[in-house]
């Protein structure tokens, strides 16, 4: 099991990759983000985007999935997240794009009141052309090895 103490500043981890299909993009957008450029191919072609693009929130959800899988592979003692400091959708994600997420630990600090610790992470998502499509800076919480508060 990897605990809070096992995460070091500067550590980089490839969370994984995912190829976006048009079907899954439409399914997410129809349910949660039904704007024309996410759900209607003709309207999307006429929009500033020139074609269907994924909801930015969908791309974030995909990154969450990749993160959960990566944390499972490393058997991390994850304890959720209090939030995200910044999220930027820098380039559209289109059907058939393969996105790859890499995360870096920016700093870590223990909780003063609970048996957990925090890691501030910057996650960068690139497409198959090496272009950055999304950056996220957020906080992850992990259980401590000793299970005790400071």
């Amino acid at each position: 099991m990897r605990y809070f103490e096992d995460f070091a500043t500067g550590e980089r981890t490839t969370l994984g990759s995912h190829t976006m299909t048009e079907a899954e993009m439409l399914a997410y957008a129809r349910k949660y983000d039904p704007q024309s450029f996410h759900i209607d191919a003709d309207a999307a072609r006429r929009s500033i985007f020139g074609g269907l693009i994924a909801s930015g929130w969908h791309t974030c959800a995909i990154v969450m999935r990749l993160s959960v899988e990566a944390h499972r592979r490393m058997d991390a003692a994850g304890a959720g997240s209090p939030g995200v400091e910044s999220c930027r959708w820098l380039k559209p994600v289109r059907p058939g794009d393969t996105v790859t997420a890499v995360t870096e630990v920016l700093e870590t600090w223990p909780s003063r009141s609970r048996p957990i610790g925090f890691a501030r992470r910057r996650t960068e998502v690139t497409n198959q052309h090496g272009e950055t499509v999304l950056t996220l800076v957020g906080i992850s919480m992990y259980r401590r090895r000793d299970g005790a508060g400071a």
């Binding site: 995909i62 969450m64 939030g83 400091e85 910044s86 999220c87």
Partner: protein, 157 residues
Amino acid sequence: MTGARPAMDGTAFFDDLEVGQQWRFGRYEVTREEIVEFARQFDPQPFHLDEAAARESLYGGLIASGWHTGAMFIRMVAECMTPRVATQGAIGFDDLRWIKPVRPGDVLSVESTVREKIESRQRPERGTVKIESRVLDQRGEPVMSLVSLVIVMRRPS
């Protein structure tokens, strides 16, 4: 949607939005089935998937993925706000906080406030509007908050 200006039948452009302007909108009933379905697809952690495992977690019961709360928020925005504002999407958000767990049976709504208008020098036809939103539960308590950076078109001259 309440508090919308100008009139509900008009589209609000960048020029029409005022700092401090506030809207209340949306209604979203959170179901156990949807929490589990979203979690299976995007956030398969035990406290989002399985009631028994969730009871033994620090949350004491099944809770929605934070990204599911984000998805429910954007659904309410897409339904109630987007059709009334000349927006071309958002470039991102800052300061997203998952304040309180969202549980089956909760009923969510949104309160949004215009915080800042930023004109674009490179693209005079549009601007960026910082909109702070709070997702509230049926008790009026915030469960999530964030500041969205929304692209809004200028009124055509």
